[in-house]
């Protein structure tokens, strides 16, 4: 599923909305999550998951072709952890049969 397919599905389910508005709604959601993460905040959507920013320390990397050492600056990386409900839905079937050991 792509963003445009998501917009098309939402438009079909909400015929009273202009597709321009549906596009704006979808863009608003992802822009707002992006803005929160760039402020260093976390976004928690219960049942779906949480977006956070993880810090990666500076390190010495290597150019894999030449083997040359290259300094890599510290950086922030966006991270998503699926919520319990979504995690179980994605893995369902197996969990329902009680096959998930090592709980």
């Amino acid at each position: 599923m792509t963003k445009s397919e998501l917009i098309a599905e939402l438009s079909a389910a909400n015929p009273h909305l202009l597709s321009r508005d549906v596009e704006l709604i979808v863009a608003t959601i992802f822009n707002e999550i992006t803005a929160a993460l760039s402020r260093g905040e976390r976004v928690e959507l219960r049942g779906f998951g949480a977006f956070t920013v993880k810090k990666r320390d500076a390190r010495t990397g290597r150019n894999p072709r030449t083997g040359e050492a290259v300094p890599v600056d510290e950086k922030a990386v966006p991270f998503f952890k699926a919520g319990k409900e979504l995690r179980e839905r994605v893995n369902k079937g197996k969990a329902a049969r009680g096959e998930v050991v090592a709980a």
């Binding site: 792509t2 704006l24 709604i25 707002e32 976390r42």
Partner: protein, 103 residues
């Protein structure tokens, strides 16, 4: 650290799009639900400019109870992974997103 929740996202849709608060909340929920059900069916969700959510099949492996050291089999399972787009990565680092990369 501040946490952005459904209520904040609803409020943003309400102010940016001009729908009622109720309808804004419903649409946000619908977006999350459509994404969840695509993922549940094993389909990837690709949001250009934001990132890709995909389902990965993990094989069986031997785990260990860290407390007792007892080996326990971890059965095959499906997990959700999120790959942030270059644009999102650039945003969290306050850099200009690479041109022409909407992925």
């Amino acid at each position: 650290m501040n946490t952005v929740t459904r209520a904040h996202l609803t409020e943003t849709i309400y102010t940016q799009v001009g729908l009622s608060r109720n309808e804004s909340a419903d649409l946000l929920e619908t977006v999350l639900e459509r994404m969840s059900s695509a993922l549940e069916s094993g389909e990837s969700v690709k949001i250009s400019g934001f990132g890709t959510f995909s389902v990965r099949q993990k094989g069986r492996r031997i785990g260990r109870n860290p407390k007792t050291g007892v080996e326990v089999p971890i059965l095959p399972r499906r997990v959700l992974v999120f790959r942030p787009s270059q644009v999102l990565k650039a945003h969290v680092n306050h850099m200009t997103p690479p041109a022409g990369d909407e992925e």
